[in-house]
C-alpha cells in the first residue's frame, strides 16, 4: 500500500512527508533541527519537557486581516503533533527561542549540575542542550530536592536528584520491556521514578536489563560502577587477572572513542585489556561456541528423545529473571546450559587453572559485557560458584570499560590489533553472532543441522529467517525432512505473546507450536544492551548489528563445533561429553537450574 504524502510549510519551505509524520520529523526532513530533551525515537513521544515547542501560523479571525496568516497563541509540541496537510509551522523565532531557554533554565535550576562527577558527563542530553543554548548562568535560585540513591541492585543505581521526569525509564520498563518495575510515583513536583510500594529496586520486578539506564537522558539512572574493584584486583600482585569480552562489546566500544557504531574493534580491545594489566584475555565468543555444544545437544536430545519442548535459550540473565518471576511455568523449558559468561568463568577457574597450574582462588575473572543484568547473574544462585568460589568476580559494562581505558591513558584508536589468549580465546562466526537477536538460534541451527544430518555444512550457512528487527520472528526449518519450528523474540515486551501461545497449546493439550525459542531481553539483542554506550537508536543498533555479521562473515570457521579450542576442551577436559550427553564435569561446570521467584520480594 502506498503511503499517502502530505505537504506543509516549515519556516517558509515546502516539505513533503508521509501522512502521520510528526512535526519534529517533518522538520528533520527539511534539514531543520528542533531541539528536544525528553523525546527518544524508541518511545512514544512523552511531551513532557516542553522544549520542542513550535508555532503554527493560522488564518486570522479578524475580518480586517483578510485571512492573513497570524501566529496562533498556543505553541505546539513538535514531538507528538502530527504534521497535517497545508500546515504552516515556524520552528524558530526569537520568542520561541526565549521560551525554550527559560524552560531549560527552569530544568537546570532543579538539577544538581554536578557534571564533573556525573557518570553521564559527555553523553548527557541535558548537558549538551544546555551547551547548545549557551546557558552561562541560571537566573533562578537553585533548588535540588535530595533523595537517597537506590543502590539495592548490583546492576543499576537510581539517583532521583538528577531526574528530569521525562518518563523515558518508566516507558521503557513498562512498554518496551513489560517489566513494570518503575512507575511515576507521587504527583507534581514530588513525582519520583521508582518501584511500587516504596520498595527498593531489588525487591521489585526489575530484571536488571538496564534499558532504563541506556535511555535516561541524564545521570539519574546509571550502571553500578565497579571499575574500582577491577583496578584493585589489577593492583593486587597475588591475583591472576583474567578477562573476557562479550560479542556485542566489540561493535560498540569504539563509540566511546569517536568511532562509528559497528566499528569492529576486537583486536584493539584485547590490546587495551593487556595494557590495563590483565594477565590473560579471553573471549566470551569462545564460550558462546561451548554454549552451542551444550544447548545444541540438549535440544537434539529433547527433540529426538521427547523431552520438554519448546526449549528456551538461557543466555540472557534479564530474560531468565523475567521468566522466573512472570513465567515460572516455563522453568522446565529453560535450557539448563549456563550463559556464555558463566561458562567461561567456570572454565577459567577450572580448566584454564588446571592446565596452567594456577590456584583458582587466586584467579580474578572480570567480564566485559554489554549488559547490566550480567552484574546480577554472577551471584544469582549457588550454581554461579561451580568452582567453589564465585566464578565471575566482577562484571563491567561496555561503558565502564571505556572509562577504564580512558583513565589509563590508552590511545585506543591507535592500538595495534592483538589476539586473544589460548585455551579460551578462539571463536567462530557462530559465537560472535550471539550478540544480535536471532544469533543464538542461528548458531544453534548451524551446528544442529550438522549433528542431526551428519553433514559437514548446511546448504546455506546463513539462516536469514531469524535475522532482523521484527519483534517476534518465527520459522520452520527443514533439516533434511525434519521440521523444526522456531521462534525468536527480542525486547522483553515482545516475549509474552510467544509465552501465551505456548500456554494456549498446553491448555489445548496439543504439541507446542514451537520447538526452540530464543529470547533476548534487549531490543536488537545484546548489541542494544543496557550496558552499551547510551543514546542508542535503531539506526545505531543497525550499524552494530552489521558489525557483528561482518565479524561472522570474515571468520574462517563459522560453526561452533568446528572451533578447535572447543574441540580441545571436550577432548582434554570434559571427557568428550556435553552435559546432555551425560558428561558429569560438563554438567557440573556448565549447567544450572531455575526457580520460581515472587514478582515482588518484600523483605519486611
Amino acid at each position: 500500500m502506498e503511503t499517502e504524502m502530505i505537504t506543509l510549510e516549515i519556516n517558509g519551505k515546502t516539505v513533503e512527508v508521509p501522512k502521520g509524520t510528526s512535526i519534529l520529523n517533518a522538520a528533520k526532513a527539511a534539514h531543520i533541527k528542533i531541539p528536544t530533551l525528553c523525546y527518544h525515537p524508541d518511545l512514544r513521544a512523552g511531551a513532557s519537557c516542553g522544549i520542542c515547542v513550535v508555532r503554527q501560523l493560522v488564518p486570522s479571525r479578524n475580518p480586517a486581516d483578510n485571512g492573513r496568516l497570524v501566529p496562533s497563541p498556543k505553541l505546539l509540541r513538535a514531538c507528538c503533533t502530527e504534521a497535517t496537510a497545508g500546515m504552516h509551522i515556524v520552528t524558530h523565532d526569537p520568542d520561541i527561542v526565549q521560551v525554550r531557554k527559560t524552560v531549560l533554565e527552569l530544568i537546570l535550576a532543579n538539577h544538581p549540575s554536578d557534571c564533573l562527577q556525573c557518570p553521564r558527563s559527555g553523553s548527557c542530553e541535558l548537558q549538551s542542550i544546555a551547551a547548545d543554548f549557551g546557558i552561562r548562568e541560571i537566573p533562578f535560585p537553585k533548588e535540588v530536592v535530595h533523595h537517597e540513591p537506590d543502590k539495592s541492585t548490583p546492576s543499576i543505581v537510581l539517583y532521583p536528584d538528577k531526574c528530569i521526569k521525562c518518563g523515558r525509564c518508566a516507558e521503557v520498563c513498562q512498554e518496551m520491556q513489560n517489566v513494570w518495575a518503575l512507575e511515576f510515583i507521587g504527583r507534581g513536583e514530588k513525582t519520583v521514578m521508582q518501584p511500587a510500594a516504596g520498595v527498593p529496586l531489588n525487591e521489585s520486578p526489575c530484571i536488571k536489563c538496564g534499558q532504563c539506564s541506556a535511555h535516561c537522558p541524564v545521570g539519574a539512572i546509571y550502571e553500578n560502577d565497579e571499575t574500582a574493584k577491577v583496578w584493585a584486583a589489577l593492583r593486587d600482585p597475588e591475583k591472576t587477572c583474567l578477562v573476557q569480552i562479550a560479542p556485542a562489546v566489540r561493535v560498540a566500544l569504539g563509540e566511546a572513542f569517536g568511532l562509528e557504531p559497528g566499528a569492529l574493534t576486537t583486536g584493539k580491545i584485547y590490546a587495551a585489556l593487556r595494557m590495563l594489566g590483565f594477565d590473560k584475555v579471553f573471549d566470551t565468543n569462545f564460550s558462546a561456541d561451548v554454549t552451542i555444544m551444550e544447548e545444541g545437544t540438549e535440544f537434539i536430545k529433547r527433540f529426538t528423545e521427547g523431552g520438554t519442548l519448546p526449549l528456551l535459550t538461557s543466555c540472557c540473565p534479564a530474560w531468565t529473571d523475567w521468566m522466573e518471576k512472570y513465567a515460572p511455568d516455563f522453568t522446565e523449558n529453560f535450557s539448563s546450559a549456563k550463559s556464555p559468561q558463566q561458562m567461561l568463568s567456570a572454565l577459567a577457574k577450572s580448566y584454564w587453572a588446571d592446565k596452567n597450574g594456577v590456584d583458582h582462588t587466586k584467579i580474578h575473572v572480570t567480564s566485559i559485557m554489554p549488559c547490566t543484568a550480567k552484574k546480577y547473574e554472577i551471584s544469582r544462585d549457588e550454581n554461579m560458584s561451580a568452582t567453589g568460589t564465585q566464578d565471575t568476580d566482577v562484571v563491567l559494562t561496555t561503558r565502564e570499560l571505556a572509562r577504564m581505558i580512558k583513565a589509563a591513558g590508552i590511545d585506543f584508536n591507535d592500538l595495534p590489533e592483538e589476539k586473544a589468549d589460548d585455551l579460551l580465546g578462539a571463536y567462530t562466526g557462530a559465537g560472535t553472532i550471539f550478540g544480535v537477536t536471532g544469533g543464538v538460534m542461528e548458531a544453534a541451527l548451524r551446528t544442529a543441522y550438522c549433528l542431526i544430518t551428519g553433514e559437514a555444512q548446511p546448504p546455506s550457512i546463513d539462516f536469514k529467517e531469524v535475522r532482523g528487527m521484527e519483534g517476534v520472528k518465527t520459522a520452520t526449518i527443514d533439516i533434511k525432512g525434519t521440521k523444526v519450528n522456531i521462534a525468536v523474540a527480542h525486547q522483553m515486551g515482545n516475549v509474552e505473546k510467544i509465552i501465551n501461545e505456548i500456554r494456549e497449546d498446553r491448555k489445548n493439550g496439543v504439541k507446542p507450536r514451537y520447538d526452540f525459542i530464543e529470547v533476548m531481553a534487549c531490543r536488537g539483542g545484546c548489541i542494544g544492551g543496557g550496558g552499551q554506550p547510551c543514546l542508542a537508536t535503531d539506526a545505531v543498533r543497525a550499524k552494530r548489528t552489521a558489525g557483528i555479521y561482518t565479524d561472522d562473515e570474515k571468520s574462517t570457521l563459522r560453526m561452533s563445533h568446528l572451533n578447535p579450542q572447543v574441540q580441545a576442551l571436550y577432548k582434554d577436559y570434559l571427557d568428550g561429553k556435553t552435559g546432555a550427553q551425560g558428561g558429569e564435569k560438563a554438567h557440573h561446570l556448565l549447567h544450572t537450574k531455575y526457580h520460581k521467584r515472587d514478582v515482588y520480594q518484600f523483605k519486611a
Partner: protein, 159 residues
C-alpha cells in the same frame, strides 16, 4: 511496632470480581478498598493487583497520583480543613495551623494515639459557612482559631 496485616473481606473480593471485566475499573476498585479499610493497605493492593491482573506499579502510580487515596491509616477522627478560596480568605489556614499546633502533628499525619489526623482539603462547597472543617462527616462552620480547643475536646471526650 509490627503492623497487623489486613485480609481481603469477602464483600471487597466480590466487588472487585464484579468490576473485573469493566474497562477502567482501577480507580473505582481503589475507592472501595479505601472505603473498606480507611486506607489502602499494601497487602490488599497486592491482592488487588493479582485479581485485576494489573501491575502493582500501576496501582501505586495511581494511588500516589490522587490526593484522595491514602497509604496510611487516618486518625479515628480525621480533621479536614477546607482550603477553598472562600475559606482561605476567611482564615482557613489559621485553622489548620491551630489544629496542627494543638494536636502536635503535621499535615496528613496521625497523632501517636491514633485519635486524630489533620488534612487540608479542597473546596467542600459550603462557602457560605467559611471557614469550614469537616470531622468524620460533621461540618463545623464559621470557625475561628478560638474554636479549635473546644472541637478537639468534644471528640476526645467521645473517645
Amino acid at each position: 511496632m509490627s503492623k497487623k496485616l489486613e485480609t481481603m473481606t469477602p464483600e471487597l473480593r466480590a466487588f472487585i470480581e464484579e468490576w473485573k471485566a469493566k474497562p477502567g475499573n482501577l480507580i473505582m476498585v481503589l475507592h472501595r478498598v479505601q472505603q473498606t479499610y480507611g486506607y489502602i493497605p499494601r497487602e490488599i493492593a497486592i491482592e488487588t493487583s493479582k485479581i485485576l491482573d494489573v501491575p502493582l506499579a500501576k496501582i501505586y502510580g495511581v494511588i500516589t497520583f490522587y490526593n484522595f487515596f491514602r497509604l496510611q491509616k487516618a486518625g479515628k477522627y480525621n480533621v479536614q480543613v477546607c482550603l477553598g478560596t472562600a475559606c482561605y480568605l476567611r482564615g482557613g489556614d489559621d485553622i489548620i495551623k491551630e489544629f496542627e499546633r494543638q494536636l502536635g502533628v503535621g499535615l496528613n499525619a496521625t497523632t501517636d494515639d491514633g485519635m486524630f489526623s489533620v488534612e487540608a482539603v479542597r473546596c467542600l462547597g459550603c462557602c457560605g459557612l467559611a471557614p469550614v472543617a469537616v470531622i468524620n462527616g460533621e461540618v463545623h462552620g464559621k470557625l475561628s482559631s478560638k474554636d479549635v480547643t473546644g472541637i478537639i475536646k468534644q471528640y476526645r471526650d467521645r473517645g
